[in-house]
Amino acid sequence: MWEFPLFPEQASTIAGGVDSLYLFLVGLTAFFSVLIFTVIFVFAIIYRRRSDDERPEAIEGSHALEIFWSVVPFVIVMVIFTWGASLYFRNARSPDDAMEVNVVGKQWMWKIQHPEGRREINELHVPIGRPVRLTMTSEDVIHSFYVPAFRIKMDVLPGRYTTAWFEATKAGEFHLFCAEYCGTEHSKMGGKVVVLDPPAYERWVGGEEQGESLADLGARRFIELRCENCHYPGAGERGPSLAGLFGRIVPLEGGGTVEADESYFRESVLNPRAKVVAGFQPVMPTFQGQISEEQLLELIAYVRSLKAPQGEGR
């Protein structure tokens, strides 16, 4: 119990980069703090008051010095900015071949869906060496998905999707925390990320609870909600076909375009008239209140799985 770490484990591809910048900043802080402390201490001793009649000469100030100690901090902070921002920028975009995992936060648990259909609560199993992209939303308040060993954190908001990604480099179990205060049991809203060797992960995924894949569940939901009545290839004016739509840029009625990503699908199901595809009428009813966050994510997984029909570009 009395283990006493001073530095968190590094278990993702980006952890090293973040730590280098951190250590640089620690060095910088130590340097300037020691400098200021020492100068104050030395001055306080050298120039201590020896008699009450002392009246030191006034020193106005010095333009040269002022410029010097404005420019030097400026250069230093610009270096830090560039370093921090470029790391952040690189880490912001997930690799294209990332494995998709859905995360739904709710007071006070994390619900996780794997593409193969396996579900977990407060645990996330992932393989080593494969990028994992998390698509996250919340059923209630704002949460924040935080894995210190991976150096990633992203708020999980109700009513919209946020994403984060990581690639684990080390097998083991790591803390998963909720970092945004979310109510009474905030501190219990966590669990662990279990990083497995690829073979172990395959065994785990194919394990006993294997159900339908997310896309299959979504396909069933698609029929239950009668989406297929209007959305099928060749439906004409009734509704746009969804095949091959995911990730494309779609022209909108009234001008403008939108990328057909998770957020757009979500909005189209819950608030269909907000952004209507060019050439169609705003006739789709809303499904607000009839579909849960998890079911929405299943639908999206299904739509994502629909490939464009051969030789057709619509």
Binding site: N271, P272, R273, A274, P285, T286
Partner: protein, 214 residues
């Protein structure tokens, strides 16, 4: 801000310093008011941008005519307020009182019309909250429009009520002969405040009632 009418309060050297201080104080106060309404305007703009159609639909539920009449009424009240300040500068007690009463009447008419509008909205179940009912596919977002409508016009109306209270106080002071050509800062300050409140409405009216309407 002075203890006795026309006198210079003990902390000031002379009447001029006192007047300048009051003026700067009032302008600073108006700056804070600007920031307050600014917060609302920013929120309004953000949501209007997110839900343009809902905001247009919401604004079509407002009564342009009543809003228009109110705009006219407020402009009139600004005029009478300006006249009241003018009369104060000339030291004409009666003129101050008549113009202030007129301003109060106009303000009262504005609030009356506003109250009628509010009661219509209550009647039509357009007040945000559990009783909000609107037969529209985007009723939720229209409700947001009404949240802003009530928050902004409510805050504005509240400012008007305070302004009317201040004018009643001024009338009592004027009756007791507190103001003369030398000392009329309170009338001027309340005047500034009243003009500010009017200007806020000049922004609110097109933003809430007119923009994008068909």
């Amino acid at each position: 801000m002075s203890a006795r009418p026309g006198a210079v309060a003990h902390q000031f050297d002379d009447a001029r310093q006192q007047r300048e201080a009051a003026e700067l104080g009032m302008w600073t106060f108006l700056l804070t008011e600007l920031m307050l309404f600014g917060g609302f305007f920013v929120g309004y703009t953000a949501y209007r941008h997110a839900y343009p159609e809902a905001f247009i639909e919401g604004s079509s539920h407002l009564d342009v005519l009543m809003g228009g009449i109110n705009t006219g009424v407020l402009i009139m009240s600004s005029l009478t307020m300006a006249l009241a300040v003018r009369e104060a500068q000339l030291g004409r007690r009666k003129g101050i009182i008549i113009n202030l009463i007129l301003t109060i009447v106009f303000g009262g008419v504005f609030l009356g019309i506003k109250a009628v509008e509010y009661s219509h909205k209550i009647h039509e179940h357009l007040v945000p909250g559990p009783n909000f009912v609107l037969d529209s596919p985007i009723s939720n977002n229209v409700q947001l429009f009404f949240s802003f409508y009530f928050a902004m016009t409510g805050t504005h109306a509240f400012h008007m009520i305070i302004g009317i209270g201040l004018m009643i106080w001024l009338i009592f002071k004027a009756r007791s002969g507190a103001f003369n050509g030398e000392y009329y800062a309170p009338v001027e300050m309340v005047g500034l405040y009243w003009h500010f409140v009017d200007i806020v409405w000049i922004f609110l009216y097109p933003l809430l009632y007119l923009l994008g309407r068909h």
